[in-house]
Symmetry: C2
Subunit: 456 residues, 2 copies
């Protein structure tokens, strides 16, 4: 996988480094295990889709400070020469267990656990939450759009609204994992081999003498891929012009791929346009719709019997507008020879390294998860966390993007429809194992408590 941006451990919050220097100065090198999980759900979410793992692993696999990084850290005046020497030799030497990309996961379940000498495992916090949190946020939103589209194609049109360059390629990749048909993002096409697609802008139509001529020029240049944007002046007139082009293309042995609606009442307009195209014999041309779509609007127009074959979704998908962040945290669960937790009301989490066990019914459906201790065995349930980094190195080849996408589709198919509902989905049953609950009773009191957010 080609990475757009490789930063190394300098991509971190300052406190990770200042704490690390304390550990270094005090000779604290015990193994510390951290658990990466999401607390609760935003509104209308009952499951998450894991994404971003491949990029995170590539980063961990080659996690070093550059000379420039060290020169900068030196300049801050916060760090000793001894500690900077240590950072110069710094490598990640620990173990990473994680759910494969494309897995479904649920609130409070570890999606990843990292175990290493404390400086190493602590230092990964900011990067892992940023990368896996955002990629999973978007994969989840995208899965909802795909589900709402009931088998119709969905295309990522969000690039201009994404929060930065890197967000753009992460969104395209997460959408592809979650089942999108294509992206408008050319860079993502280049980096990941995701199919790219697009139509035309209103500005294109406007610079020609008239709409028909704009359509004609486009169809001559792309006889195999002509999708005409028909709402620049008036959608009905646009559909009539598109039908003319479709007829002319048929005479040349070609076929108009489709038309695109970008404004107005989508359900009504799409049926009118379908009739115009069908009456002209341009029955192969599909109707593509864009303009403010997300899973809610897709669901609504299809319930209104829109004659739409595919959707372009942009802004609201690309920033997960109804829930623009996840409460993903990276919590210390084991240090040296003891389990760690915090027990303050509302912020408690489960101590100890864990495994997530998924039960599968006879019909292949997921029936519930059990969060257990790392080394326990639960019969008739699939352990979800796999060891993927040992001694700091990736242990086995990672699945390619097509396999991740396929696995994600299979996983979503195993989830009950009620849990996938766009509005007010039912909860998925997750419990803790007896074994894990017993462990909690033996906890030292008053282990890390406190804040809900970023504890910098």
């Amino acid at each position: 996988m080609e990475r757009l941006t490789k930063t190394g451990p300098i991509f971190t919050d300052l406190y990770e480094l200042t704490m690390a220097q304390c550990y270094f100065a005090e000779g604290i090198t015990d193994e510390a295990a951290f658990s990466l999980f999401v607390r609760g759900y935003p509104e209308n979410r009952s499951y998450y889709v894991a994404a971003g793992l491949e990029e995170a692993l590539a980063e961990i696999n080659d996690y070093t400070f550059s000379d420039k990084d060290l020169a900068y850290l030196d300049k801050t005046g916060l760090f000793t020469d001894d500690f900077l020497d240590y950072l110069n030799r710094f490598r990640f030497t620990g173990t990473v267990r994680a759910m494969p990309e494309g897995s479904l996961f649920f609130a409070d379940e570890p999606i990843m656990e990292v175990s290493a000498p404390i400086i190493e495992s602590q230092l990964l916090e900011t990067y892992l939450i940023n990368t896996i949190g955002f990629s999973s946020l978007i994969a989840t939103k995208a899965a909802r759009c795909v589900h709402a589209a009931r088998g119709r194609n969905v295309v990522d049109f969000s690039l201009r609204r994404n929060q930065g360059i890197d967000a753009g390629v992460k969104v395209a990749r997460s959408c592809h994992i979650a089942g999108f048909a294509a992206t408008s993002n050319v860079l993502a096409g280049k980096l990941y081999g995701i199919p790219v697609s697009g139509t035309m802008a209103h500005s294109f139509v406007s610079i020609f003498e008239n709409e028909y001529n704009a359509f004609r020029v486009f169809s001559e240049n792309y006889p195999d891929n002509t999708v005409l944007l028909i709402d620049t002046h008036d959608t009905i007139q646009g559909a009539e012009n598109a039908a003319k082009i479709g007829i002319e293309m048929q005479k040349k042995g070609q076929s108009l791929a489709g038309v695109r609606l970008d404004s107005g009442d989508m359900a009504t307009l799409s049926r009118q346009v379908r009739r115009i195209l069908d009456d002209a014999g341009v029955t192969d041309a599909t109707i593509f719709a864009s303009s403010g779509f997300d899973e809610y609007k897709i669901d609504r127009v299809l319930r209104e019997n829109a004659a739409i074959d595919a959707f372009g979704v942009g802004t609201k998908l690309g920033v997960s507008a109804d829930a623009p962040y996840l409460d993903m945290v990276y919590k210390l669960v084991h240090f040296g020879d003891r389990d760690i937790t915090k027990q303050s009301p509302g912020k408690a989490y489960l101590a100890g390294e864990k495994q997530v066990f998924r039960k599968i019914g006879e019909n292949g459906m997921y029936t519930g998860d059990i969060i257990g201790a790392k080394n326990e065995t639960i019969e008739n349930a699939v352990p979800m966390l796999e060891t993927i980094i040992e001694n700091g190195k990736i242990t086995a080849p990672l699945p390619d993007l097509a396999d991740i996408r396929r696995y994600c589709a299979e996983s979503i198919a195993r989830l009950d429809e009620t849990i996938k509902a766009i509005d007010s989905p039912a909860p998925y049953p997750v419990s803790a194992s007896h074994n894990l609950l017993e462990k909690q009773k033996h906890m030292a009191h008053g282990s890390p408590g406190g804040g809900h957010g970023n504890n910098l």
Copy 2:
């Protein structure tokens, strides 16, 4: 300025390239001018802060396709050899006029105008909206946080919640422009020279035998920068431990920099903690607060007389959670020898290249803007758009970040308090000049209409 991610024009929506190939094939090379502006306001916004220009200019100044980009485009099968040859030689040769970074701008006002042969000016669309839109979104949110803090320091703690790597450094830079005191983001410190700061995590406190020992170790390692996180077990007990450390530091001729609250009722707790510190004679130690802050929560706790000296803001700032995108568009306003607009209801915009004129009252306050035609003169008003790229090259050195930050603070000081209100701000008066309105009457009918969103 060091750029984290240089992508060139391959960072674009596919349709920009497919339209470009049509223009190329048809020999359409007329100059086209596009206007970059935001339609309307999200709730509780009445002004915007411009940011992201420096990065955009660096990109435009060196806007080329790499061999790998061209090999990928060739592989898509969509492009002719002639067009790929053209892309291989592609450079931006046009003119860019823009408001300086740190400027305030308002709905419907062009923040930038680009004029160039149509392929060149069209191709910039996706990149400019992405980069300038997101940077300005965050600078605007950050300015609101600074305003709510009434002179207290505000620090960016959002890195883990930012939507990707690149978003992280853009957020830190936009916050710095808007007046934040520091960031936790070490990479942004390295790239831009922004002050970095941080405290400690709950995990740090939890691995020592007790809180006091954790505090002691930290203070011994950072005698000049000790801010102690006091809510791991119990905030009051934590404040008492911090007071002990403060007294011990005083005996060594040192000074405890501060304590940090990260949970609980901030107004009440902060006053209790202040009393504990003051009673112990640790009066210099400041109280730093974090946990779910944004401009609304800062405003609320200060109205409740919280004894808080500085705020760490994270998640809600870092994705602009209450308004995670701007409706920024890049619209064709002039082509060849004619002005262009669209006139469909609700989506109309002003035809022609423009200038924004800002009126300043005798007391130095901004009193209103007039959007005029590019070449008109309006007396007693400052033209906001400056030519910064000519013949494809940056014409003059750009201001450094400290100057941008200073200019932004001056600009915000010139805006009436009612317009800066956190809730339900008053509107800022913006009108169109007589000259510009006259131009609209002579428009060809039915120029580009249509969609509200991404017209791909």
